[in-house]
Amino acid sequence: MSNIMKIQNLTIDYNGIVAIDNMSFKLEKGKFYSIIGPNGAGKSTLLKAITKNLHNTKDSIFIEGIDLKDFKIKDLAKKISMVPQETSIDFDLLGEEIVLMGRIPHLKRLEKEGSKDMEIVKNSMIKTNTYHLKNRSVTKMSGGEKQRIIVARALAQEAGIMLLDEPVSQLDLHNQIEIMNIVRELVDKEGLTALCVLHDINLAVNYSDEIIIMKEGKLVSSGLPKEIIKQNILEDTYGIKVEIIDNPVTKKPFIIHVNI
């Protein structure tokens, strides 16, 4: 299996405060990875570093073997797309206009969007169940609809890696499952590599091929869900008491927190 992304001894400090402490891991193409860990563990910092929103990541992040620092913003957007936790757009833009923004990395400044771009936009919207929203203003969309539009935009970038930063934490159960199903399907059918920060450990277990656990800027453990979702690891990481049972449907580990 080829490594599509490699993080190697990544350390990030904000004026002496260490946010990421000597972290290393690799992502294989076509897998779903989740990052879990308490608030302040450095999960968001890690995503910021990967999207080139922090300096000084020299020699520690490699995308398809190339150092991140050698990527221009536009070229990076052809490799990595991003779905944030929430998007607030007060301006009256249509669903299709937003998804079309995903084509920016592929267009030269003087180049007009062509029929190929429109085809990709249409397909991205169909795959995310948003094609019916193409003429709806984003100001009139529900949270779930808006988030699916943002996933469609990320998809239109045709990037091999999709980062998702707590993509479902603002959504109801139905929309959570819908978004997670969409991403899982893209991983299975199109070979997308997903790296998704999640707070819901059970959601992470159900959808991930591998889970990365972080605490205080360090990698605690990473690997297959059933191997690393253990009582002692979670209790150490989160500082609460948990019980782990077998999910009766999926036979995967299921976490119950028992601090009452």
């Binding site: 221009k72 990595i80 998007t87 833009l93 249509l94 299709e96 935009r153």
Partner: protein, 338 residues
């Protein structure tokens, strides 16, 4: 999107009709009354020589200046609202206008009178003030180590107040010049000339073309800067280019005609209500409707108290604000019931 395009085309046609009508009316009204037929004759055919002179030397340059100014202000207003993700932004939000006014004030107090290529010493100083303001904003933001929109916006607001306070001090100290300073800030097209237009038109045209080339980036920035970066918008480069280009446009327009408010705030909002926020549609329409609106306002300012005229800077908001509020309320109602 198809519907948006249709509405855009409809608005373009209506806009050009309004433009033609307002130009025809603007040409025929003024100190010496002519019928529209007479004035059009003087414009296109061989007319009465004195009428021809009035049209070609006095009225036409003024009309063209009003059109270019209105269009330029509306475009920069639209751009700043998107760039700063702030519906209250207007072309003057970065303090560029106050910087220009300070420059003009200094020129008035020093009695500078070295006209260059049709511009008075006051205009030259005003343009210098605009550019210095922009330079200060970038220096402040850089010193703070961050060039994000909020830093730029806050620096602009602070500089705006700072420049205004110096103007007030000057007016307090030089009471005799107060009227001249205030009249300058009101704005006026009465000193319009072809010579000045030779400078204004190229700057505004080039500026508009560059801003249009950044329409896609502006759409992205409107959804958030971090997000825009994640889909390939080089936010820093785009933002700096846009501010630089806009400053030159605003600087030359303010230097030539003073501070004319409200056009840049109102026109983009009204157009968004109809065609949405996509900058590819919004920018050309902003120019068209900004032009028409300011020409109508200027015509009103010229004819209401003939042979004197009202300050254009007061007219725009006097007629614009109630109309704007009316449309905002009506739009809200449509949304609630449909």
């Amino acid at each position: 999107m198809e519907e948006g395009k249709r509405k855009g085309r409809k608005l373009t046609i209506i806009g050009f009709l309004l433009l033609s009508i307002s130009i025809a009316i603007g040409i025929s009204l003024g100190g010496a009354d002519m019928s529209i037929i007479e004035s059009l004759k003087a414009l296109f055919l061989q007319g009465d020589t004195s009428q021809e002179k009035i049209i070609w030397v006095i009225r036409l340059p003024r009309i063209v200046t009003a059109l270019v100014t209105g269009g330029g202000l509306a475009i920069v207003g639209a751009v700043f609202q998107g760039l700063f993700r702030n519906p209250m932004a207007d072309p003057f939000v970065l303090g560029i206008s106050s910087g220009a006014a300070l420059g003009a004030t200094i020129a008035i107090i020093l009695g500078v009178s070295i006209p260059i290529i049709g511009f008075t010493g006051i205009s030259i100083f005003a343009f210098g003030g605009a550019l210095l303001t922009m330079a200060s904003i970038f220096i402040i933001a850089r010193a703070r180590g961050s060039l994000d929109s909020n830093t730029l916006l806050l620096s602009g607001v602070a500089l705006n107040f700072f420049a205004s306070s110096i103007i007030y001090l000057f007016m307090f100290l030089r009471y005799d010049k107060m009227k001249q300073i205030i009249m300058w800030t009101f704005g006026s097209f009465s000193t319009s000339s072809w010579e000045k237009l030779n400078i204004i038109i190229p700057i505004v045209t080039i500026g508009m073309i560059i801003l249009r080339l950044f329409a896609r980036d502006l759409n992205g920035i409107m959804t958030g800067e971090t997000q825009a970066k994640s889909f390939g918008v080089d936010v820093n480069t785009s933002r700096n280019t846009i501010i630089l280009v806009s400053t030159f446009m605003i600087g030359v327009l303010v230097a030539s005609s003073g501070i004319i408010g409200f056009v840049g705030l109102m026109i983009p909002h009204l157009l968004r209500l109809v065609v949405g926020a996509d900058f590819k549609k919004l920018l050309p329409l902003s120019f068209l409707y900004g032009s028409v609106f300011l020409l109508i306002c200027d015509t009103i300012s010229r004819v209401v108290v003939k042979p004197s005229e009202l300050p254009i800077g007061a007219i725009t908001a006097f007629f614009g604000a109630p109309f704007f509020i009316f449309l905002l309320i009506r739009k809200k109602r449509d949304e609630n019931y449909v």
